[in-house]
């Protein structure tokens, strides 16, 4: 819990102020019945009009005072509550952004989303409530009991029995409830997750006519959420009737005792009325306990969930103060790598060298480890053994941000953002000028296409760029990488949807950038343009060399050539 509660510490003074104001308010409320008793005894019974007027106006004045205190409290409480939520969300986004790739595996996307919105709201509500009314009711009970004891000790003794009982009962229920609410939030995660799958997979679902199947999946998730919610709320709704019964029993006892005391002449009507009045106030404040225990239990459950995220340790990267340019030859030495959570290594003591400024093509079967290899260079993952070096310097000794700033990466799945095309390209380098953006777009062979769009570079594309064709998306994400003017460019099979002509022009343009290029591809026509080709098989380099060399000496490469319908150097069909 420490992470979540620690965030409340900066607000301790303001929280104290809010509570202080609440206490003032409460004090007025508690004093009123005493003043009333005074008025009855001194004024009415004694027949003193002035006394009635005196006490009466004091009562009115006090209630106006408590109003002012209440309003101030409300502003302070809202400020603290909202700031607290704001702070938690800030901590969460910072934490989530600091996750390493492996750590993302701990949490599903949809649960992270629920935790960052819904759970924060629950916790924020609990804090806000505690500052505004939550403590009111318990304090009302404590002070009510104290005052009643003060007015007539013997009569109020009953309250000393019932109040502790109620306290234990509620604490017990709260503990149980928190567990139940955690289950509710997990069910909410599931609803969120099904919804998200349906949004990302909407085309597939429509294509396979699975709306009904998906609806039943969603209904299952919704039903589970409903049942758990009904269960937990019913539990909490049973609290107040039980408490009421106990307190009302106490009230009966007070009446009876009051009668006895009066018979003995040890109690006045005014005293009995006052004690009954306090008891009645306690009873009224009980009705809010469903609400309070529920909000606290729910807040506690959410706090645990938020804390789970915040408690993830930041992966320790060696502190690096110096920054080195990512220039020079790229060198992988005896690299073995297993994905976090994976059992078998995807790369087995693999070694390769790519000369600075050259283009290296990486070919290999599906699942042979090509993408894994690329991801080690910008340190998305760390190799389990061996080292990756640039210009003779181990990348693990370079500052990650510095390193990545010098790398342009184009992933296999072109992931674009909601926004305009220019924003998407500039995403690669936030201070890129318009000219730089256009230049990158030209090199990525997308400039003409962009100009033909109705709003040109300001055309807005949806999440994941759905309104663009596959090839357009790929070229946009290439432009995004090129705008960085990287020293190393990593293309992870990101030209698959490009025709041969466009691709050739693209590679030509890249060559002029004077950067080291690693390009994963399935196409021999792409590989042909590389200075060196690496054939990967089961996580190892099976062969390397130029197109000519490999075509002569490597059987796998020859098979690849044949599979692409070429014995020698003929062109593919599509495109030119």
């Amino acid at each position: 819990m420490n992470h979540v509660w620690a965030l409340l510490v900066p607000y301790r003074l303001r929280m104290a102020a809010a509570w202080g104001l609440m206490l003032l308010e409460l004090a007025v409320e508690l004093v009123l019945p005493i003043l009333m008793a005074k008025m009855i005894d001194d004024g009415i019974v004694a027949g003193e009009v002035n006394s009635i007027l005196f006490w009466g106006s004091i009562m009115i004045g006090l209630s106006l005072f408590s109003f002012a205190a209440g309003i101030t409290n409300s502003f302070i409480a809202a400020r603290i509550g909202q700031n607290y939520g704001f702070d938690i969300r800030k901590k969460l986004i910072e934490k989530v952004q600091s996750f390493s790739f492996g750590q993302y595996g701990h949490f599903d996307t949809s649960t992270l989303i629920t935790r960052m919105t819904n759970d924060v709201t629950q916790l924020q509500n609990a804090v806000f409530m505690s500052l505004r009314i939550m403590l009111r009711a318990p304090l009302m009970i404590i002070f009510g009991t104290a005052m009643a004891l003060f007015v007539h000790f013997k009569l109020a003794l009953v309250l000393l029995v019932t109040v502790p009982f109620m306290t234990f009962f509620m604490l017990f229920m709260m503990r149980r409830g928190a567990g139940m609410f955690r289950r509710v939030q997990i069910k909410l995660d599931k609803v969120n997750s099904v919804m998200r799958e349906n949004l990302t997979g909407i085309r597939l679902i429509r294509a396979f006519v699975r709306s009904r199947y998906e609806t039943s999946r969603f209904e299952r998730a919704g039903k589970a959420l409903m049942e758990d919610t009904i269960g937990v709320i019913r539990t909490f709704e049973s609290i107040v009737p039980i408490l009421m019964l106990v307190m009302n029993g106490g009230l009966l006892f007070i009446l009876w005792l009051g009668f006895m005391e009066m018979q003995n002449g040890t109690a006045t009507t005014g005293e009995i009325v006052a004690v009954i009045n306090y008891a009645a106030r306690i009873i009224i404040s009980l009705s809010i306990f469903t609400f309070i225990t529920l909000a606290f239990a729910r807040g506690k459950a959410s706090a645990v969930r938020i804390n789970e995220v915040l408690a993830v340790d930041q992966e320790q990267l060696p502190a690096v103060t110096e920054s080195y340019p990512a220039e020079g030859d790229l060198f992988l030495e005896n690299v073995t790598f297993t994905y976090p959570g994976g059992k078998t290594p995807v790369l087995h003591s693999l070694s390769m060298r790519v000369e600075r400024g050259s283009i290296a093509a990486i070919l290999g079967e599906t699942g042979s480890g090509k993408s894994a290899l690329l991801s080690l260079i910008p340190r998305l993952y760390e190799p389990s053994e061996g080292r990756v070096a640039i210009g003779g310097r181990d990348v693990s000794q370079m500052d990650v941000r510095q390193l990545r700033r010098q790398i342009g990466f184009v992933p296999q799945e072109s992931h674009l953002f909601t926004g305009s095309i220019i924003d998407n390209i500039r995403w690669g380098k936030k201070d890129a000028t318009d000219e730089e953006v256009v230049e990158a777009a030209q090199k990525a062979q997308i400039h003409d296409t962009v100009l033909s769009l109705p709003d040109g570079y300001n055309t807005v594309i949806g999440q994941k760029g759905v309104t663009l064709s596959g090839g357009q998306k790929q070229r946009l994400s290439i432009a995004r990488a090129l705008v960085r003017q990287p020293d190393i460019l990593l293309l992870d099979d990101s030209t698959s949807a490009l025709d041969v002509k466009t691709e050739a022009a693209l590679i030509n343009a890249i060559t002029s950038q004077n950067c080291t290029v690693l390009i994963v591809t399935q196409k021999v026509s792409t590989a042909e343009q590389a200075d060196c080709i690496f054939m990967i098989e089961d996580g190892q380099i099976a062969a390397s060399g130029t197109h000519r060399e490999l075509a002569r000496k490597n059987s796998l490469y020859r098979r690849l050539l044949e599979s692409q319908g070429r014995g020698g150097g003929i062109h593919e069909a599509s495109g030119s």
Binding site: M195, N198, W256, F259, T366, T467, Q522, S563, Q564
Partner: protein, 576 residues
């Protein structure tokens, strides 16, 4: 301004708007008339019993305790005990049923929203952030949920208690009643002032929460890019802007909502003081007894409490309405027109495009006057530069979009006369973006045909050349896949998608870059299976690879949305 959804934040709450929204929620509630009626009876009973309590208490003090009538007191206390027991039982029952009604309503609302999502045209999803839509299913509906749980009972019992208190007070002392009722106009103006501030802020809050949710979803699902480009800081910065907006809206909403209990409190306390004052003077003149004043202050509180509840509930309702409006906004979005024949006999597979033109937005034509004819069993290859309209043709075939001009005929029937679902259930797809669900490998393949046996699934995987890599996974076919597809390579994902299409066993097959991330040797292996699959079926294939295209019966070369050449591979190649 009659239609929901257009709020600028500073617009005053629209009464017509709100009552319409409430009516729609009411419609859901009324589906459970019987239970609702029972609940209302319980509410009436509990309100009655709540009034009886203090009445009998007052009587006990006035008639028996003061006069020392022991027997009378015992009888009265026995009656009071029954009242209290009844009260607890009844208030438990009312909540017990109400929670069920409320949660079932929420479930149905969520379900209807989900179903409506599936009726919306694909274009609806193109430009919306997934997380924003998810927020409506979770955060907005959650807002309605917490309101429904308590508000209906509170409002009903509030109204009843109010009516009852007024009646009893009138009976006891019309003058004091008049004094008490002075609260109402004050309260009315106070509430009007408060809710004209909270209402719009609630809407703003939900909107910003949705916005934040959208951002989080996008940020998390694109985390690899964010890391690659070292954009963490910027993401956090953008998040904080949204976070800030949410905080401000939330602050205003909460601070002003906090006014309500304070307002009611001051009115309550002042009322208490005024009653005591006036009552005291009356008592002096012999126009009221002490007992009357005690009872009266008690009733005055009983009277302001429901007023307080009603005021709070009205405000809570505004917050629920803010959520509900966002839900109904979606439900009011026009469904995709999908009339047509719901059941069609198996198609032979003849497909004709007759002068088809299409544009996503009205400005730019993606396809213009495309005509071609595919005989049953034909394999049609679509080639052309990226953005030339290949995928659009696939989208139109699947009826994800409708042509703006021209007709698409299936077996000579205009596609508009066949429902999209009926049509798609005879088609099999491998789409450009591979979608996998958070399920086992087995279930992901089975998605192609839900009633397929395990053996059939494995057979399909074998044909798609996916079997061997699946077997190598830690738990084989039972391995869970993650939604973001981590753990298996892009090429392997495509193999799974192909297995899924093979399993579907359709009349028409649509393969959009189905093998783009698969190495060509593996592709050769599945080529055979695909060939077998395509035999006797009409298939549409988008590919860049020669050996795929060569086998086509017809090759269509597209350029800028027009057919540039059509014919056999040799003919199209020669046409260059």
């Amino acid at each position: 301004m009659k239609h929901p959804g257009h709020n600028n934040g500073d617009v005053k709450p629209q009464i017509g708007n709100m009552s319409l929204t409430l009516k729609r929620i009411g419609h859901y509630l009324l589906k459970r008339k019987g239970k609702l009626l029972l609940t209302m009876v319980m509410v009436a009973l509990s309100s009655l019993l709540a009034l009886a309590g203090p009445f009998l208490t007052g009587k006990a003090i006035d008639d028996y305790i003061a006069s020392g009538d022991e027997r009378g007191l015992i009888g009265l206390l026995a009656g009071l005990a029954l009242v209290y027991i009844g009260y607890s039982a009844v208030s438990f029952l009312q909540n017990y049923w109400m929670v069920e009604i409320a949660q079932k309503t929420v479930y149905e609302l969520r379900d209807d929203l989900f179903r409506h999502f599936h009726k919306l045209p694909i274009s609806f999803f193109d430009k919306r952030r997934h997380g924003e839509l998810m927020s409506r299913v979770t955060n907005d509906i959650d807002n309605i949920s917490s309101t429904l749980n308590s508000s209906i009972i509170q409002i009903a019992s509030g109204l009843l208690t109010l009516a009852g208190s007024i009646a009893v007070m009138l009976y006891l002392s019309p003058l004091l009643t008049a004094v008490t009722l002075l609260i109402i106009p004050l309260m009315f103006y106070g509430m009007k002032w408060i809710t004209s501030r909270t209402g719009p802020k609630f809407k703003e809050q939900q909107r910003h929460l949705g916005d934040l949710n959208g951002f989080i979803e996008e940020a998390i699902s694109s985390r690899h890019i964010v890391k690659m480009f070292s954009r963490e800081e910027e993401m956090i910065h953008e998040f904080m802007e949204k976070n800030e907006r949410l905080r401000e809206a939330g602050y205003m909403a909460q601070a002003y909502s906090g006014f309500i209990p304070k307002l009611m409190n001051v009115l309550n306390n002042t009322g208490f003081a005024v009653i005591a004052l006036v009552g005291g003077i009356l008592a002096l003149n012999g126009q009221a007894t002490v007992g009357t004043i005690v009872i009266f202050t008690e009733y005055a509180r009983q009277f302001t409490r429901p007023l307080n509840d009603l005021a709070n509930q009205y405000n809570t309702m505004l917050s629920a309405v803010a959520g509900a409006e966002r839900v109904f906004d979606i439900m009011d979005t026009d469904e995709a027109v999908d009339r047509g024949e719901g059941k069609i006999p198996p198609l032979a597979g003849e497909v004709t495009f007759d002068n088809v033109s299409f544009s996503y937005d009205t400005d730019k034509k993606i396809l213009s006057n495309v005509s071609f004819h595919a005989s049953p069993g034909d394999m049609i290859a679509l080639i052309g530069p990226t953005g030339s309209g290949k995928t659009t043709i696939m989208n139109l075939l699947a009826r994800f979009y409708e042509p703006n001009e021209g007709r698409i005929l299936f077996d000579g029937i205009n596609s508009r006369e066949i429902s999209g679902n009926a049509l798609r259930s005879q088609m099999g797809f491998v789409l450009q973006d591979t979608v996998l669900f958070e399920e086992t490998v087995m279930e992901n393949i089975r998605y192609g045909r839900l009633d397929a046996t395990d053996e059939e699934v494995i057979e399909a995987a074998r044909q798609a050349n996916a079997h061997s890599f699946i077997e190598r996974m830690p738990e084989g076919y039972q391995s869970m896949l993650r939604q973001d597809g981590s753990g298996i390579s892009q090429g392997q994902r495509q193999l799974l998608a192909i297995a899924r299409a093979i399993l579907a066993d359709p009349v028409l097959l649509i393969l959009d870059e189905a093998t783009s991330s698969i190495d060509t040797i593996t592709e050769l292996h599945i080529q055979e299976a695909l060939g077998r699959l395509m035999k006797g079926r009409t298939s549409f294939v988008i590919a860049h690879r020669l050996n795929t295209i060569r086998r086509a019966d017809q090759v269509i070369r597209l350029k800028n949305g027009c057919i540039e050449a059509i014919g056999s591979y040799e003919e199209v190649a020669a046409a260059q």
